[in-house]
């Protein structure tokens, strides 16, 4: 009896929510009929039947969250086996216990919050923090700033009607309308320039790039038009604009879609460059970025969008230019940013088991960089490893190593090491990709090496 397994509906999807069944046991379906709505971290997708037949069992209840890709979800008996009665096999029982309270209304994008918010976080005092994904935190940051400042608007590909290619702008069109949430043609160079001109003209644009890989086509405006104008005009002409979007490797999308531009932008005077890891920093820094009078490059990470963190309620603004000690420690300092922070934390856990107490620093801002926090930590631990999801050459890691050499040499008990991606364009094959990307094991090895353990 053919079973249908939950399919992966995006390159990064590992699990999904079976929002709603559109068929019931006993229904006859034709090829192409929509049988269910599956909610991924990015969108609500319709699942179609490939073959016709009679539904004999729903193996996962409607509303179930966290269904792993590859889980059998329905059986449909082909025409010849159609006699098999609706009296169905064992797993049917699962249908009886609906795990989630009330999920399915995701189509109305404006209705404030996605699933996590719908299920209240019980163990947190109300009004202080709430559990949110990075994606939701970013959306809230934009919405809150747009509510208080009429000159703030969002433009980019698919930001409005589609609700965001990665769903980051979900609901904004409904709340703010088409004059402030603007779908652009696929024309990065053009709309980056247009946004920059609008900033010169007194507005505060948020320009979304579907990914920063595509911003390569627009980099002239980011650097030559946005970053340099204040200086070239002797301080007369401001350009308060935020360029944001996912940066770095996603998953199995190959070399042209997987690059970390942090070091590129961080090398440019006149730009602010932010690359947060957690949802609370994502929200607080994006709000700070929108309020900043300077041009900001805001680097997000697709793989972090779906991760949840505690986010303070209210007007949560995080200062630009301040690193965060994510985990205090005494034996070695692991410095990272963006998705690398997760890798560093994972390594720190392993190191703890080996008797090494690592301190983990999240830079959060790549320019202007908080070298004081890095150097203060080095003074305490005397050992440092830089962890970066990106290439090693001319990287943020290189920069930190240079700073430590210049200003922290006397505090060093071992050479600073860097753990990064391998110095090749990112390959597609799963095994090669895995081999090329930053790994916690390598961080552990490097940390042990600088501790001589």
């Amino acid at each position: 009896m053919p079973q249908i397994l939950l399919p992966a509906m995006s390159p990064t999807m590992e699990e999904g929510t079976l929002a709603k069944w559109l068929v019931a046991v006993g229904d006859v379906v034709k090829p192409g009929d929509v049988i269910a709505e599956i909610e991924t971290d990015k969108a609500t997708m319709e699942l179609e039947a490939d073959d016709g037949g009679t539904v004999t069992a729903l193996l996962v209840a409607g509303g179930s969250e966290g269904v792993k890709v590859g889980t059998p979800i329905i059986t449909i008996a082909g025409e010849d086996e159609a006699e098999t009665p609706a009296a169905a096999p064992a797993p049917k029982a699962t249908m009886e216990e609906p795990k989630a309270v009330s999920l399915p209304e995701r189509e109305t994008p404006g209705d404030d919050n996605a699933p996590v918010a719908a299920a209240p976080a019980p163990d947190i005092a109300p009004g202080t923090t709430r559990r949110q994904t990075v994606r939701e935190a970013l959306r809230d940051a934009m919405a809150e700033e747009m509510r208080t400042d009429q000159t703030v608007f969002v433009m980019g590909e698919e930001v409005a009607e589609y609700q965001g290619a990665y769903k980051v702008t979900q609901g904004l069109l409904e709340e703010f309308g088409g004059s402030r949430v603007i779908d652009t043609p696929i024309t990065e160079y053009g709309f980056a320039g247009l946004g920059t001109g609008a900033a010169m003209g007194g507005l505060k644009p948020i320009v979304e790039f579907m990914t920063f890989n595509f911003a390569m086509q627009a980099i002239d405006h980011i650097i030559n038009s946005a970053a340099k104008t204040l200086y070239m005009s002797g301080g007369q002409m401001r350009c308060p604009i935020v360029f944001r979007g996912p940066n770095g490797a996603a998953s199995r999308v190959g070399a042209q879609h997987s690059q970390n531009y942090g070091p590129w932008y961080a090398s440019v005077p006149g730009l602010i460059v932010l690359a947060p890891y957690s949802a609370d920093d994502a929200k607080g820094l994006l709000k700070a970025a929108i309020r900043s009078p300077d041009p900001v490059v805001f680097l997000e990470n697709e793989l972090l969008y779906g991760q949840s963190f505690d986010v303070p309620e209210g007007d949560h603004v995080v200062p630009i230019g301040k690193a965060r000690i994510v985990k205090a420690g005494t034996d070695v300092t692991l410095v990272s940013y963006s998705i690398g922070v997760g890798v560093a934390l994972q390594a720190a856990e392993t190191l703890a088991g080996l008797g090494i107490n690592a301190e983990v620093i999240d830079l959060r801002t790549l320019r202007p960089m908080d070298t004081a926090t890095v150097l203060a930590s080095l003074k305490k631990t005397n050992r440092m490893v830089v962890v970066e999801e990106g290439w090693p050459t001319c990287s943020i890691a290189s920069e930190i190593m240079a700073v430590v050499m210049e200003k922290g040499f006397d505090d060093l008990d071992a050479p600073v090491l860097r753990v990064t991606n391998v110095d090749v364009p990112l390959p597609y094959a799963a095994n090669l990709e895995k081999a090329a990307l930053l790994k916690a094991e390598d961080v552990v090895t490097a940390a042990r090496a600088v501790c001589y353990k």
Binding site: T151, F153, S179, I182, T184, P185, T187, Y189, G190, F191, A192, G193, L194, G195, T196, G197, A198, A199, M200, G201, G202, L203, D220, H221, N224, S225, T229, L230, Y231, M232, S233, G234, G235, Q236, M237, R238, P269, G270, I272, S292, P293, D294, P319, I320, G321, T365, P368
Partner: protein
Amino acid sequence: MVLIRRFEERAGQLYGMGQIGGFCHLYIGQEAVVVGLQAELIKGDSIITGYRDHGHMLACGISSKAVMAELTGRAAGISGGKGGSMHMFSVEHGFFGGHGIVAAQVPLGAGLGFAHKYKGDGHIAVTYFGDGASNQGQVYESFNMAELWKLPVIFVIENNQYAMGTSVNRASSEDQLYRRGESFRVPGLQVDGMDVLAVRGAAKLAVEWVRGGNGPLLLEMKTYRYRGHSMSDPAKYRSRDEVQAMREKSDPIEGLKKLILEAGHADEAALKAIDRDVRDEVAEAADFALETPEPALAELHTDVLLGTY
């Protein structure tokens, strides 16, 4: 026009004396374009152009001293000496640069128009670029969005026939540049850019169209630069005769002078007096630009960012 002409001649001399560094692109021959257009704009409208920008600044009413002092890299320059010939701005005068990257000002200008529309202030943006810039992809990206969103923008192609050393027909499959907006439904007009009254007439029509909420319009101004592309261009790609013929037959200043005299608006003496005043002003600007001090060394580090982080 006379002010721009004399100013640029003087700038050329200062360049020759080593008092102006880097690149210096003179506007001599093209004066009618910016003067005719500016005559139809009102305070609050925005203008933006490329690196051949001295004339635009003077036409916006920016002081010749501040422009000349920028050319000599002095603290009293309009950009405090930090921008130079190609990078000058005056927000106060609605002049948004002065941009050194060919055609970058086109989407930026569309963005200025976007800001006017967003704010609903009734103002428009004028973005000037050359025939060379008109082959850049971002120009068409801008046409597309400007028409799609009906932005109040006048795109002005200053077709001076040569993109550095490459003539229009050697670089453009469609050399009738006013037609370059057609596939985006941006209407275009070709105008004699050597005739300031023709320019003004076209500008009047364009301003009405754009201010009336009809979306962008493209004006191709057929003009000519007498000097090389920049001061370092020997201009071997065209004959002296060609330049000379243009000067003799189509010079915008001589053309207008003839009309003024014929119509009896002023006599030779009155025009000479204007010329003398202009020469005095330019001489004063040049003296000022040479005497006023260079920026303080501390200025090296200012104006990188506005915020403190």
